[in-house]
Symmetry: C2
Subunit: 556 residues, 2 copies
């Protein structure tokens, strides 16, 4: 079979984040725009020329074959083979994905996109694919940022399974506080179902609006409120999984000793063993009361110490977010329309800062939920711990603002990239005593790098999740794109950051999973026997390696 | 090779629970003794004749071979081959184990008992055993009650690995609040190490004094304070495991998305894949303050509703223990020396009970830990929820008494069995809405059974652990032994209870694991693909099936 380069007309913005009407432009953020102009001495005022056609890498003979097989064998399942639909399910939301969308290089697409409605249909599709050795790449919300969604670059038949029709609320158990959903349900639909009855799932990743329950499970997602409600690993009770060789069920009870629970084998499996078609989750009553505590600390280490002391007293805020000096300073760059979004120095007079001996403020936001008395008590306990660590309370305004607009920032990213700005986020989790050292080492190593633009580059950091023994650090890296070598620039920056994370004792990922981007570090860190066990599980459930090939430990 | 029946002289009480000087006799509990006499019209005043010799099933030629192999290849590891040592590591603490100790039937013993001091020595022993196909049964505290510790009844060479020398505190990290221990460390040694520095692990199963960290992990243990500190699954961060084919490490961070975490494959694995040689655990500061709330409810369902409402508001007591009508009534049978141990009716005057409309009181004990303000706030919130469910506060005396003497009750069990009393405990976890129905069905089904002695039998129940969606129920079954068919009687009762648990939707076990006793139900409930995955993991790590043979899914 030959592969074809072809083109298709398509809306120019299919690859962008979210809803078109919510999109932001750099021109909406004049302070940020001015800052970028001044720092790099570039205008950043030309967006990428609008593309109305995209170059596609495909094999239409192979695609026709796959279409015919599926049409014959699972005719009741919705199957789409137009180039336009296939293109729309070809990229995730990572920085390299955006570069691909903007470049003229051909984009790999699937032979068809299928839209199964439920567990049974998914199982049927997988069976046919096993028989015909057709590769399967599931598409949840499509918003993964480390290329856990990516199409194989070989010439084998392949389909994308779009999960969005498998989005039912299958059970809402108000007595036991559990719900069962189809794996393809999006965040807002989950909350809509639950809020209507007075409940919440409590899982709010940055991608909330464009990610699915199944995707969260397959990537071991953590949400912005996971310090309170728990990571998705803790929220899920049981799962139904469709594999090429049949169905497997894992978990059943919350709290049992019924032998080995294989749940964790599928958490973070990135669909390389099967597709999580249904999941039973814990639900919680909507909080009666939320209480924000926003404080300013004289240094990053002061705030880290305060957070550590707080959670090590078993007081876990629902939300915890602590920005370092630079991130705090740069908050003013994004206007109040989008994010946290305020100039701390305009909130706190310089006189006050001087009185407190704070030269470079760092800003901490924590939220406590529950009954009013609980939330206020925890806020009080936290305030007292913060005070001991030289943090001082600046009121709850910024916290409320952040909460209101927290899903807005991704809308700005695509426009920045189109204008020639490099912007990517990278994250890890590390024991408490290594948090500040790791952060400083990442900064130091980037500052030596040409790809980062040396001292012109900007690296911001915040603590985003807290645990008894560890905390996550979330980095935002901003610089000017190096024209003509955008991908190589990204690779170099990614290498510097992740090499440093790993050598300083951090995890390859805290909540973005492995995908394509973290694979080499993951394979280096994973011991021989673990890989052997995982490969044997893979061979048992996916004997022809058709499931999301090339991910994790899969050598295909 | 022939197998021999031989006898050995040994202390008569090697098979009994705990320290000899702490043992209790039925004569210490005159009210209980009188009750048993009256109910079954039997004196129960002859203890079993003291045995000074025990009949042993062994093969001394085979045993000598095994001893020589190990002496040659791992000469630096302590190896014991006296019949007396081998006998002491031949039984667990289940009711059938006690029957075996009392009967004249020969007891299966290992060929030798080895006492490795650390991970490396264990790995070396496993390697030799793989090479020579010698079966391995690890012995932690030896207190498992569902025969997860049991020796194979075949003629293959076998050793017991006693873990008690692998008991070091390898690391105490006061910054990150973690500790690393050797898997063979006992509960009190852990707490001694930690308490000295102001910390606690917070894991207190009934077997606390005679069980090990490795054993807790291998059986997915829950402790009496697990509603607060979490089950052992949640306490552990990472593990080092010795398998016959080498070392495997699982887990690393608290909160990461570094691919698939195989931790849960080894939790509950009952040493059928390898031996957990070291574990890193979360530790907590010793609670500043503990506040008991003890309340009486008019029915079991009232108290269950109250507990459910409490935890579904995300208020989790550290300890939760709620006895049904019969258990509450029978508390008076065990004097204040041992357990909770009080006659509720003597604490609360009949007049008060009548005023409250309570005919058959049920007693609830919950404990809240933390700072004084937190603990008192939670106690207040709980008291208000209890009140809404017709529970009334009776002061904290019984809670404190229970806490003080909670590890005492197992000491009475052996004496009861020696005197002809049947006493066993069985437990499960079930969604909240099924708690009371399951309990009633177990009671009803036992009452129809001759083995239980029909209406003469006693079945007590309490809720012992609480979760958002579920609760555990712990049953105590008491009746007179049927002389000559003690084991069959136990089997019949066990079948009735576990069949009912499973048919009513409960887990085969909440915290005792599968062992030998729960295996048939576990295999029935586990789906085909799960078994296949587990068998392939077994073949990868233990290709000759030498690890704790015949447990879980192992067909040997």
């Amino acid at each position: 079979m030959n592969t074809d380069m072809t083109t298709t007309n398509s809306e120019s913005d299919w690859w962008k984040w979210g809803d078109a009407y919510k999109r932001k432009s750099l021109t909406d953020f004049p302070i940020l725009h001015q800052f970028l102009k001044d720092r790099w001495n570039q205008p950043f005022d030309h967006t990428h020329p609008l593309k109305s056609s995209f170059s596609i890498h495909t094999n239409e003979e192979r695609a026709a074959n796959v279409y015919n097989i599926l049409k014959q064998q699972v005719s009741h399942v919705r199957i789409e083979n137009s180039l336009s639909v296939r293109l729309k399910k070809a990229l995730g939301k990572s920085y390299p994905d955006v570069l691909s969308a903007l470049s003229d290089d051909p984009i790999e697409v699937a032979d068809v996109v299928v839209f199964p409605k439920n567990h049974d249909e998914i199982l049927q599709v997988l069976k046919v694919c096993l028989e015909h050795k057709i590769l399967i790449v599931p598409f949840g919300g499509g918003s993964n940022v480390v290329r856990a969604f990516s199409l194989p670059k070989n010439d084998l038949p392949r389909i994308v399974i779009d999960m969005s029709l498998n989005n039912a609320l299958l059970n809402l158990d108000e007595t036991n506080h559990t719900a069962i959903f189809g794996g393809g349900i999006y965040g807002p639909a989950i909350e809509k179902h639950l809020n209507a009855k007075g409940y919440t799932l409590g899982h709010f990743p940055q991608s909330f609006e464009y990610s699915t329950l199944g995707g969260w499970l397959a990537t071991r997602s953590a949400g912005q409120e996971s310090s309170g409600y728990g990571r998705i690993d803790e929220i899920v009770i049981s799962m139904r999984i469709a594999t090429p060789v049949g169905e497997i069920s894992v978990g059943n009870y919350e709290g049992d000793a019924e032998g080995i629970n294989l749940k964790s084998v599928f958490l973070g499996s990135e669909a390389s063993l099967g597709i999580i078609t249904e999941a039973k989750v814990r639900i919680h009553p909507l909080p009666q009361y939320k209480s924000w505590l926003v404080a300013v600390f004289p240094s990053f280490q002061h705030g880290v110490d305060a957070l550590k002391q707080l959670v090590q007293k078993d007081i876990f805020p629902t939300v915890a977010r602590f920005s370092d000096e630079l991130e705090t300073e740069y908050l003013k760059l994004v206007s109040s329309e989008v994010g946290v979004l305020a100039d701390v120095k305009s909130l706190i007079s310089n006189i006050v800062l001087k009185l407190k001996g704070i030269e470079k403020p760092t800003i901490m936001m924590v939220r406590f939920d529950g009954t009013q008395s609980e939330a206020e008590l925890n806020r009080k306990l936290a305030a007292s711990i913060f005070e001991k660590n030289k943090g001082f309370d600046i009121g709850d305004g910024i916290g409320k603002k952040w909460e209101h607009s927290r899903f807005g920032l991704p809308y700005l990213r695509d426009d920045l990239v189109e204008r020639g700005v490099f912007v990517d986020t990278m994250e890890t989790v590390v024991p408490w005593d290594k948090v500040d050292a790791l952060r400083k080492k990442v900064q130091a190593n980037l500052l030596m790098s040409d790809a980062f633009g040396k001292e012109k580059g900007v690296i911001l950091a915040h603590v985003s999740h807290v645990y008894t023994s560890s905390a996550s650090i979330y980095f935002t890296v901003i610089t000017a794109q190096q024209k003509g070598s955008e991908y190589q620039q990204w690779e170099e920056i990614k290498n510097i950051v992740t090499n440093t994370i790993v050598s300083e004792g951090g995890a390859v990922s805290h909540h973005h999973s492995i995908g394509t981007d973290h694979r080499k570090w993951y394979l280096e860190k994973t011991d021989v026997l673990t890989k052997k066990v995982l490969q044997n599980i893979k061979s048992t459930l996916d004997p022809h390696h058709i499931m999301n090939p090339g991910k994790l430990f899969d050598e295909q």
